[in-house]
C-alpha cells in the first residue's frame, strides 16, 4: 500500500485530495490488471484483422495503451471484454486505413506481409491457412468484421453487437451470411 503523508502546508483537506488521487490511481491499476486477462482475445482479434502475429501484437499493445488512457470511460466492468474488443477493432481499422493511405501515396509498396506461421507448422497447413486468410480478406468488411470478432475473438453475439454498435439480430444474420460467403469462396464459387 502506498504511504500517504499529510503535507504540513496543505492541511488535512489537501491530504484527502492526495489520498483520493492515489486511491483512484490504485483503482485504475487494478482495473487495468483485470483487463489484461483479455489479452489473448485482443491479440486474436488483431490477428484476424492483420496478416501476421507481429502486427497483431503491436496492435494489441496499441489497444491496451488506448484502454489505459480511457479506463475511466468503462462504466460497466461486466462489459469489459466487449469494451476492449471495441477498442481493438477501432485500432485495427485505424491501422488498416493508415496502411491504405500509405499505399495510396506510394509510401508502402506491398500490402503487408503474409501470415508467417510458427516454424513448427507443417507446410501444407501453412498453405491452407493462407488460402483461408485470402478468402477472409475477400469478404465485404462488415461481414469480415463480424466473423473475426466471433471466430477469432470468440465474443458472444451481444458482445459483438456492443463492439460494433449493432443489434444482436443483425449480428446473427450478418454472421450467417459471412459464414456462407466464406464457404462459397472456399468451394471455389462466388460470395
Amino acid at each position: 500500500m502506498v504511504e500517504v503523508g499529510w503535507p504540513g502546508t496543505g492541511g488535512p483537506a489537501a491530504g484527502c485530495e492526495e489520498l483520493e488521487r492515489i486511491m483512484s490511481e490504485d483503482a485504475v491499476d487494478s482495473g487495468f490488471e483485470r483487463l489484461l486477462e483479455y489479452r489473448d482475445t485482443v491479440f486474436l482479434i488483431c490477428l484476424g484483422y492483420v496478416r501476421n502475429p507481429w502486427d497483431a501484437e503491436d496492435l494489441a499493445q496499441e489497444t491496451y495503451l488506448r484502454a489505459h488512457e480511457r479506463l475511466s470511460e468503462l462504466r460497466e466492468p461486466a462489459q469489459a471484454r466487449a469494451w476492449i474488443s471495441r477498442i481493438a477493432r477501432n485500432a485495427c481499422v485505424d491501422h488498416l486505413r493508415r496502411a491504405r493511405v500509405r499505399r495510396l501515396f506510394g509510401m508502402q509498396t506491398k500490402p503487408s506481409e503474409p501470415t508467417a506461421p510458427p516454424p513448427d507448422m507443417a507446410l501444407d497447413d501453412e498453405v491452407r491457412i493462407n488460402e483461408l486468410r485470402t478468402a477472409l480478406a475477400s469478404l465485404p468488411a462488415r461481414m469480415r468484421e463480424v466473423l473475426i470478432l466471433r471466430e477469432y475473438g470468440e465474443l458472444s453475439y451481444e458482445e459483438i453487437g456492443r463492439a460494433m454498435g449493432l443489434r444482436t439480430g443483425t449480428v446473427m444474420s450478418r454472421l450467417h451470411r459471412a459464414r456462407s460467403a466464406l464457404a462459397a469462396i472456399l468451394r471455389g464459387g462466388q460470395a
Binding site: L47, P53, P118, M121, D125, L132, A183, L186
Partner: protein, 203 residues
C-alpha cells in the same frame, strides 16, 4: 483448399481458423507482452501529455473556419463604401419608373403590369436609396430618389409602393413628396414623362 467433394467448407474453414489461432497463441509471449506494455505505459506517464485532437473536432474546425472567413468577407463586402452614383443614372431610372404611370388616373384599377414593372425596378431603386444614404448627399441624389418613390406612390396601385418599400415612413415620405412636387424639377420631370394627348387617346 484441397478437399473432397462432400467436405463441408464452412466447418472446415472454422477448423482452420482454430488451428491458426492455436498456432498464433503458441507463439504469443504473454510475459514479454505485459513487460513491454507496462514499460510503454510508464514512458507515457513520464512524458508530457500530448494533446490528440479528436478527428471529428478537427473535421468540424476545418469546415467551420473557411465558412466563417467567407462569412466575414461577405460582411466586409456588404459594408464596402458605395460607389458614387451618377445623377444621370438616377434620373434615367427615375424616368423609366415614373414614365410607366405618369398620366394615368389614380382611379385606374390596380394594373398587374405596372406592379410588375415597379417590382422589376425595385432593386435598382433600393440600391439608389442605399447609396444615397451612404453618401449622405441628400441635396444631389436624395431628391431624385424621393422622386422615384413619389413615382412609386403615384402608381395606379398606390399600395404597391408601400408593399415594396415597407420599411419607409410613408407619411413622412408623403409630406416630403408634396414639398418636392412644389419644386420645378419634379414637375418638369413628370411633365416630360407624361404621354402626349394623342397617346392618352390611344389608350
Amino acid at each position: 483448399m484441397r478437399r473432397t467433394e462432400d467436405a463441408d467448407p464452412e466447418a472446415e474453414s472454422l477448423t482452420w481458423i482454430e488451428r491458426e489461432k492455436k498456432a498464433a497463441l503458441a507463439g504469443f509471449d504473454r510475459r514479454r507482452f505485459e513487460t513491454r506494455l507496462k514499460a510503454r505505459i510508464g514512458e507515457k506517464a513520464g512524458a508530457p501529455r500530448r494533446v490528440r485532437p479528436d478527428l471529428a473536432w478537427t473535421t468540424a474546425i476545418a469546415l467551420t473556419v473557411p465558412l466563417l472567413v467567407l462569412g466575414l468577407l461577405g460582411l466586409l463586402w456588404l459594408q464596402r463604401p458605395g460607389r458614387p452614383v451618377e445623377a444621370a443614372t438616377v434620373e434615367a431610372a427615375l424616368r423609366q419608373v415614373a414614365g410607366g404611370w405618369a398620366g394615368k388616373p389614380r382611379t385606374t384599377p390596380p394594373s398587374i403590369l405596372a406592379t410588375r414593372e415597379l417590382q422589376t425596378q425595385s432593386w435598382q431603386i433600393q440600391r439608389l436609396i442605399y447609396h444615397s444614404q451612404r453618401r449622405r448627399d441628400d441635396d444631389d441624389v436624395g431628391p431624385l430618389v424621393m422622386a422615384t418613390l413619389a413615382a412609386a406612390q403615384s402608381a395606379p396601385n398606390p399600395a404597391a409602393g408601400r408593399e415594396i418599400f415597407p420599411d419607409i415612413d410613408h407619411d413622412a415620405l408623403g409630406r416630403r413628396i408634396d414639398a418636392l412636387r412644389r419644386g420645378n424639377g419634379m414637375r418638369r420631370l413628370f411633365d416630360r414623362a407624361k404621354p402626349s394627348t394623342t397617346d392618352r387617346r390611344r389608350t
